[in-house]
């Protein structure tokens, strides 16, 4: 039954450009990018129990690094991509050491403060980031010579990367490391007494989450061919966190569904309502108060109840 569901989903995803117009294909690409961002964040938040409001840092820095390398050193993507990823991951290593000196709300505040500092840097370090104008004139990569400028080829590119990312994250979640990570979320002191190096587990997860945030950042800058400091903003981090929470933190499907919700909301509602931030804020408040578990656990419960009643 489950396998059938996956095959259906795979078919739907693979065949999308055949039955959907360019607008929807592009929209789905955006959902995929957001899904990677949210899935990485979910490792930290849902499985690690460490809520971060600074995840946009990794998306933004990877995007800006790639853009800067292209514009200033005329570096081809096959070189700039790994450099951008490495640089951002190193930054995650450093940030992780700093932020993990605290847990809970302290951790949240530090990740937020670090991210906001980067955001400010994005606006003010005009010589590097071009400030409020952003960096434009960027190109998409052409892996194996395939041109990704069209909506459909870029969509497939995103799909491949997303499937790989989600698969890697799922492997981690189901691995011994993942079990240990969940343990540190539930009973950190006990885990330490059992011999698990809680600090190291958390730091590795932090860095890994940052890595996937960077991957999302590269896809992001390739998609838009443009990068602006808003990508580093609190709003950007908050959207990721909302995706994790709305979908259901601590599940694998949650962030993907949450990402879809956030992207669709943003796209459709902005047509009617001018102020996205207001809506984002309102949705946050409503979800926290009325649906704190998120959509996926809620749905799971309904599904199990339905199946129980059928017996």
């Amino acid at each position: 039954m489950k396998a059938l569901g996956w095959i259906a989903l795979a078919a739907l995803a693979a065949g999308l450009p055949l039955y959907a117009g360019e607008f929807y294909v592009n929209l789905t690409s955006q959902i995929l990018i957001a899904a990677i961002f949210a899935a990485g964040l979910n490792l930290l938040v849902g499985y690690g129990g460490l809520s971060s409001l600074g995840h946009a840092s990794y998306l933004g820095v990877a995007a800006y690094s790639s853009a800067w390398l292209s514009l200033n050193l005329a570096m081809p993507h096959w070189a700039s991509a790994p450099i951008a990823l490495a640089f951002t991951t190193l930054m995650a290593c450093l940030f992780g050491v700093i932020a993990l000196r605290a847990t809970g709300l302290g951790f949240l505040m530090i990740t937020l403060a670090l991210s906001q500092v980067l955001w400010g840097l994005g606006y003010r370090w005009v010589s590097v980031t071009n400030g409020d104008n952003g960096l434009s004139g960027l190109t998409r990569p052409a892996p194996f010579g395939i041109n990704l400028d069209g909506a459909t080829p870029f969509y497939y590119f995103c799909l491949v990367v997303t499937v790989f990312a989600l698969w890697m994250i799922a492997r981690l979640v189901h691995s011994p490391f993942g079990a240990g990570l969940r343990g540190t979320r539930d009973q950190a002191r006990r885990m330490a007494a059992l011999g698990h190096n809680v600090g190291l587990v958390r730091w590795l997860t932090f860095v890994y989450a940052g890595f996937w945030g960077a991957v999302a950042g590269l896809l992001y800058v390739y998609y838009h061919k443009y990068i602006h400091p808003t990508a580093l903003s609190l709003t950007s981090s908050a959207e990721g966190l909302l995706a994790v929470i709305a979908g259901g933190s601590g599940t694998l499907a949650g962030p993907v569904i949450g990402a879809a919700i956030v992207v669709l909301l943003k796209n459709y509602v902005s047509a009617f309502v001018e102020r996205w931030n207001f809506l984002l804020g309102l949705v946050f408040v409503l979800i926290v108060i009325f649906m704190p578990d998120g959509l996926v656990p809620g749905m799971k419960r309904l599904w199990l109840r339905w199946r129980g009643e059928r017996r």
Partner: protein
Amino acid sequence: MTPALKIDGLRKSFGGLPATNNVSLEVMPGERRLIIGPNGAGKTTLFNLITGDLPADDGSIRVFGEEVRGMLPSQRAHRGLARTYQIITLFPKDTLEHNIALSLLGLSKTRWNAFSPLARYGHLYEEARRVLALVGLDALANRPVSEVSYGDRRRLEIAMALAQKPRLLLLDEPLAGLSREERASVKQLVSKIPRETTVVMIEHDMDTALDLAETITVLHYGSVIVEGTRADVVADPRTREVYLGH
């Protein structure tokens, strides 16, 4: 012979109040030591200092000759130290088997594997079941901890520690909150722990615990008041003072 546990001049204060006051004691390998004392005597604090959950102000803690002060709790676990907690801290949403598996992973290099599914490690789960069988919980292996009785949870606490085949085991009130039958059964469990494991136990229920230990240390206001065999301690007037005086 190197003592399993050697504490010298251990001190810990909380804002001026000494919780552990120049404590020195020595436990030989294979020994069963009981630590008793009225509430607030600093027994659990002493355990917390040994495991590293609390940093000591001064003094030395040697486990099998190695100074562990300054080591992280996880590092001490790798040196053969294990403990149970007064307040049960298990993983409620996980099965009993998974709880033990987490304990086994704590000392195994496998815990760093971030790629292969945990389910592949059949031998881990076999070992977990074996440990559960030792404490008589194997029938409940697949039940989540939240669905299991308090008495069984206490036994799981002990199983978690035994799973690691520790050299030094600290039991913090293993009989707390148990019915009479449960206490008898846990007492039997503790008495069957192999001599490769040195056991230091905090207990309030003296009738049951005094049988299990060869040597007893009495703590009061963070200091060692009396130490010796059961007969010594029971006869000593200071012990009576400590218990009758409050």
